[in-house]
Amino acid sequence: MRYLPLSDADRKSMLSTIGANSVEDFFADVPETARVEGVIADLPPFQSELAVERHLKTLAARNTNAEDIPFFVGGGAYRHHIPASVDMIIQRSEFLTTYTPYQPEIAQGTLQTLFEFQTQVAELTGMAVANASMYDGSTGCAEAALMACRATRRSKVICSGGLHPHYAASTRLLCEAQGIEVIQLPPAIDDEVALKDFVDNQTACLIAQSPNVFGTITDLTEVSEAAHAHKALMVSVFTEAVSLGLIKPPGEMGADIAVGEGQSIGNALSFGGPYVGLFACTEKLTRQMPGRLCGETVDANGERGFVLTLSTREQHIRRDKATSNICTNSGLCTLAFSSHMSLLGTAGLQRLALLNHEAACDLADELEALSGVEVLTPGFFNEFAYRTSKPAEDVLSGLLERGIMGGIRASRFFPGPEFRNVILTTATECNTAEDIRAYAAALEEVIQ
């Protein structure tokens, strides 16, 4: 077996050093009724690389992937181009096959990249500090709600009607388990500001998203002001990190906590994971943050170095009083994010964001020109909702028959008649002018 270095001779000699007769001796504590005789039934025996590769390639071939087809699906995960060097960097043995940096003297590589990542996330969101990542945007959103409740000692959370429904569901789950009331406003394409009418002196936080799940961009400043007037916190959510290269970030709209998905930068779609949750907040809230934090310090010779710090918030020290149970986070995905962001720089990010916006504007222009198509999103970055006279499901399968992956039916998020004919669609720098024209041409046929 190619992954197991011990030979039978090694095993024998090791047993003799130990003074054991066989490996069975080590399993003597296992109750006899629970010991498996022989090998576990119903599973195949070991296979060669070639055989495993063949099997998994067959499975992969049964999927239609985003590289094979004009692709316009978003809704919380986005197809972007990833520079070749990013994948090379994250496959460096020293990053790929190392652990959480508990021994800082021999983990400065990971620690420095985390420090750089935290700074990049803080800059991108316009916030004071950021942590070393959460699992993804949705779990980060849930943790933000819990953090707001801790910080305010209140137990009511209000979610906007444009918050990604999967984020809302993840948040509701964790909050309700702790007896926190979650008020969910009804789905609304353009009404994030409705939150301000619901805030009261019992509210821990308002959670709004921009661009929201319908793609709508909203200035959340007045929502933040309303929250602060009631000593509640403002949680500002985003699912498309590239948007922050072009639009006003949470930090400029009065957010206390900014949380979102970082997949867009450096990370593959990978059917939903692994992704990387970005989590940032104001200086004042630093010690309420969940997850790991990397900080600067010096070594015994006075040289600059980095360590995990403020660990007393975390489960391995604080146990039942920890700010979260999170342990492993998204280490390697932060490196993918950070290295891609380092390649982009401000100039590259801004241009990338403009190209995304341009592609989406071009798509919206083309679709709006068709009779019977109504673009519903009043202002957007790279994602918008549109309506036709036909059920979205039928429209999307018609598009797929014509070789276009056209988006997500809104009813997948919001069951009910209101959104039956609504499609959420996304265009990025990966979509060519031909893709966009092909989309419009196919849609014209489908809705006729």
């Binding site: 190619r2 992954y3 197991l4 270095p5 000699s13 054991a20 490996v23 001796d25 080590f26 504590d29 010991r35 090998v39 599973l43 495993v52 998994l56 049964r62 999927n63 239609t64 043995s93 020293e94 990053f95 021999i106 590589g109 004071a128 779990t139 789950l173 964790l174 961009i217 639009i247 400029e252 593959a268 779609l269 990978s270 059917f271 939903g272 994971g273 934090l293 900080g295 310090t297 010096v298 010779n301 006075g302 360590v307 710090t309 489960q315 391995h316 604080r318 146990r319 920890a322 149970n325 998204s330 390697l332 995905c333 390649l343 401000t346 590259g348 916006h357 504007c361 009043p378 202002g379």
Partner: protein
């Protein structure tokens, strides 16, 4: 106040003159490298993108006016930056990484290759289900392996890491208690004092109260205490128990523990962090457990990546299966469906834990690992892991003090009893760095004084283990003799001991430009 005197010293050792200083800051192969903020500049970019034409804008006047300060690097600069930094990291690919309870085993490169097939890596989680049948089939196949290996009827695939899996299991227990109408009454979760910190943190996050239970003198749950404790109780929600436990020992009475908990009306959550010790030989389902997460990044070799991503599928018993979260993969004839909404689940799903379907990229890697090993190979994996640990324990026991008598499972635990006063576990750990190894887990579990937990895993050869043991024995002897120079270690790592007190007192969590006035003053 509560006193926590246990733990590692955090003050840096006194500085000594560094005679290895060079004028460039580099040291031979170890290149000096600044932060990206010092190396790059915001107007440089390593990504060539076309000029945007932008005929229209639909931003509602929400343009960002203050640019973020994000330095850019050209590709050669970026590659150098990260390769130079990588050389400041220890890794399994460099040598033995015996971090107990973390299972640092070899990460097969086939797994990486397959996870990058466009047919997996470029799939969107919200694509039409007809276009992802191969991906859903893969999830179903992996689920089948996990259920068969654990002897459990159901598995929730979406948890993103081990602690998220704990949350999954405990939320299922919560929902089951709710369905029985006993949630308000059953608030108490028993957790051994030796447990990983995530266990109590998870129980609290699910709204339960934690009651610590003691271990006996041989490192297992104290059964007399447990029986007495459970007697007449009607507030027990369940127990969270790691098996093999954090001392590297199999819980001998585990079946009895399950019976006692069930008789008290509670559920049995098993922390599966150490499943790698028994995979292929013991099916946790035969032990009476109700839920267990499986760290794909431990038992099934997906890379740790410097702290993630993990993946924590959670197997569930008949009693808890109806409450599994959405989304779920279901098979109807030859077609796979994704049940995404709680309303769509024909039962009592406790909700949704995350935006999409779990760590799919890790699923590909784990399945590749399982297929490569097969049922026979996985059995060999646990045998070799346990053999290697016992070999290390046997070789080190002449000098170091095993925490418990007898054989261990997949990790060997030592206390600091052999260490001379004034020297600590941390000094041994830092000294082994100088010998070219990553230290063992130190000061965990908390129930053993100055604990050193060594997990070699099955992917170490005898020769590697012998070299590691030789090096550690020498250090242990110095520690036993009170050799004060251990306190100066490491001396051959990229940095000396770091000042964690300074980092925590004056947290600097991000880079900030040096104010221009300060530059002018120089």
């Amino acid at each position: 106040m509560t006193m926590h005197a246990i733990g590692r010293p955090t003050r840096q050792a006194s500085s000594m003159t560094d005679t290895s200083a060079t004028s460039s800051g580099s040291r031979g192969l170890l290149q000096d490298e600044g932060l990206i903020f010092e190396v790059g500049s915001p107007d440089r970019t390593g990504v060539d993108l076309p000029e945007p034409k932008l005929r229209s804008r639909r931003l509602r006047g929400m343009e960002r006016t203050l640019s973020p300060s994000l330095p850019g690097l050209s590709e050669p600069q970026a590659v150098r930056h990260y390769v130079r930094l990588s050389q400041r990291n220890y890794a399994i690919d460099l040598g033995v990484f015996p971090l107990g309870s973390c299972t640092m085993k070899h990460n097969p490169r086939l797994n990486e290759k397959l996870a990058r097939l466009p047919g997996f890596a470029s799939l969107h989680p919200m694509q039409p289900q007809a276009t992802v049948q191969g991906a859903l089939a893969l999830m179903d196949e992996l689920a089948g392996w996990l259920k068969t290996l654990t002897g459990m009827p159901a598995v929730a695939m979406s948890p993103k890491a081990g602690a998220h899996g704990e949350l999954c299991g405990m939320l299922a227990i919560r929902r089951a208690l709710e369905a029985r109408g006993e949630l308000n009454q059953r608030r108490c979760v028993l957790v051994p004092e030796s447990a990983h910190g995530t266990n109590p943190a998870t129980a609290i996050q699910c709204g339960f109260k934690v009651e610590e239970i003691p271990a006996n003198e041989i490192g297992r749950v104290d059964m007399d205490d447990l029986r007495n404790r459970l007697d007449g109780r009607d507030d027990i929600a369940g127990i969270m128990l790691t098996n093999p436990n954090t001392c590297g020992l199999f819980e001998t009475d585990i079946i009895e523990i399950a019976k006692l908990i069930h008789a008290a009306g509670g559920y049995f959550y098993c922390d599966g962090a150490n499943f790698n010790a028994i995979v292929g030989r013991v099916r946790p389902g035969d032990l009476g457990i109700d839920a267990m997460h499986i760290n794909l990044h431990k038992t099934f070799s997906t890379p740790h990546g410097g702290g993630g991503p993990g993946s924590g599928p959670t197997v569930l018993s008949e009693a808890l299966a109806p409450f599994a979260p959405v989304p779920r993969v279901e098979k109807d004839g030859e077609t796979y469906h994704l049940v995404e909404e709680e309303q769509g689940a024909s039962d009592q799903a406790f909700g949704r834990m995350t935006a999409f379907h779990g760590q799919f990229g890790m699923f590909v890697r784990a399945l590749s690992y399982m297929l490569s090993h097969g049922a026979d190979g996985l059995k060999q994996v646990s045998e070799d892991a346990v053999l290697n640990a016992n070999y290390v324990q046997a070789r080190l026991s002449d000098v170091m003090t095993p925490a418990f008598e007898g054989y261990c499972m997949h990790e060997a635990l030592f206390s600091d009893k052999f260490v001379a006063p004034g020297i600590g576990t941390i000094d041994i750990a830092k000294a082994i760095i100088d010998e070219g190894y990553h230290p063992m887990t130190m000061y965990f579990p908390l129930v053993v004084s100055g604990a050193m937990l060594i997990e070699p895993t099955e992917t170490e050869s005898k020769a590697e283990l012998d070299r590691f043991c030789d090096a550690l024995l020498q250090i242990a002897e110095r520690a036993a003799q009170g050799d004060e120079t251990l306190k100066l270690c490491p001396q051959h790592a990229p940095l000396r001991r770091l000042d964690e007190t300074l980092a925590a007192r004056k947290p600097q969590l991000r880079w900030r430009p040096i104010p221009e006035t300060a530059i002018a003053a120089e």
